[in-house]
Symmetry: C2
Subunit: 211 residues, 2 copies
DNA sequence: ACAGATATTTCGGTGTGCCTAAAAATGCCC
DNA sequence: GGGCATTTTTAGGCACACCGAAATATCTGT
């Protein structure tokens, strides 16, 4: 049970719990992968048989230690490749996803290692997401969603969801980028560079801050 | 009918007639691709139905114009990627083949274009093989096999087959490399750098000279 | 020219990953 | 706590690219 398809399942299960705790259900997995629910049932059964996920019928899907290791390897590949495309080929950070999605399955470990070396072993990708090292270790910092942060909370922007490109552009124009420090005033109003700025409401669940 | 597998068939058919005129037979195609002859029959049937190759039952396989265009695109991808791996990642020319074999199917046109640009639109790969341009045009120079060249023929080494790594090493030690000019004395004896050298007999059908 | 060797095709089958439609289990709401 | 909607699984199938075995065509040598 080692295939590009299997790796995509593992990676997707992993990503779902990276910024939130609920385990992923088959239907959500199907939606994220763009396949029919029945396809998920089938693949999950195989992954469970190989000890990569745990799954009781009609229940959620969780990675085992072995599955997580594989998922982290894929996440590493994906994020390293994205970083590389941006920094060496001038891709926009919003243009790298599809290319990385394909290359992550086909670049050899050797080439990946050379890319990693050339980039100086980066620990974060252009979206601010942490890149696991070759051993699968990943930086994890305590975080809060902007929308869930108490008033007056001050934190560094850890991550901005890449789900909505329009929102991303707006945030960019407002000067909100990964690494910036902001103080929450109320709701989506924050202090950034000393200026008080009203962010789009959607930013509430798209921006993660250090806790 | 567009798939990695189909592209591999087309590329292999193309390569077979690049330095020699006999059209490829199904069994040779099967051997080069490492698949069973029956698989070739099947795939060739599909390629013929799509107008990419011409084939009469029990006969040889030939590319149509459309098939050749596709084959040239694959050859371009393969050779550009090989060149890139050698010149930017320090791969040995004997180590690039497998990686290129995979990446040629998965790198986007856009990334390929950037690689091409970065390399300065190279026209030859590290083995001396010509790289077709984006339009499928390829440098073709009249050539003779060393073993078929008349005595006193003088020509530039156009290409050395990469089939036999041992032979390659020996030729390298004798100073015979792509680009060198040699004069044929008799059989495998040639003048190289003013010195008369006896090449291994196998060089007769592994070294191509300008006509 | 014909027998035997060789090459090619046909035939039935495999594994992977996907699908739709139908059946079964679960969860929720009154 | 029972009925209905939702979720998940089962069942049957499809396309792709491959395989081995058997049948058939072509080639070769005497």
């Amino acid at each position: 049970m080692a295939s590009p398809a299997a790796d995509d399942y593992l990676k997707t299960v992993y990503s779902h719990t990276e910024w939130q705790d609920e385990a992923i259900t088959p239907s959500v997995l199907a939606a994220k992968l763009g396949v029919a629910p029945s396809s998920v049932t089938e693949m999950v059964k195989k992954l469970a048989a190989s000890g990569l996920v745990s799954h009781v019928p009609y229940g959620a899907v969780r990675l085992t230690a072995a599955g997580e290791a594989r998922a982290l390897a894929m996440v590493r590949r994906h994020r390293l490749i994205e970083t590389w495309l941006v920094s060496e080929f001038g891709y926009g950070w919003d243009e790298v996803h599809d290319e990385a999605e394909v290359l992550e399955h086909t670049i050899s470990d050797r080439l990946l290692g050379k890319i990693d070396e050339r980039l100086g072993h980066p620990r974060f990708d252009p979206h601010g997401d942490a890149i696991p090292d070759a051993g699968g270790h990943i930086d994890r910092e305590a975080f809060v969603l902007l929308g869930a942060a108490p008033a007056a909370h001050e934190g560094r922007v850890l991550r901005v969801s890449d789900r909505d490109p329009v929102l991303l552009r707006v945030l960019d124009e407002l000067g909100l980028a990964v690494g910036r420090t902001v103080r929450v005033e109320a709701g989506a109003r924050v202090v950034l560079d000393g200026r008080s700025v009203e962010l789009p409401a959607a930013a509430g669940d798209a921006v993660w801050l250090t806790a």
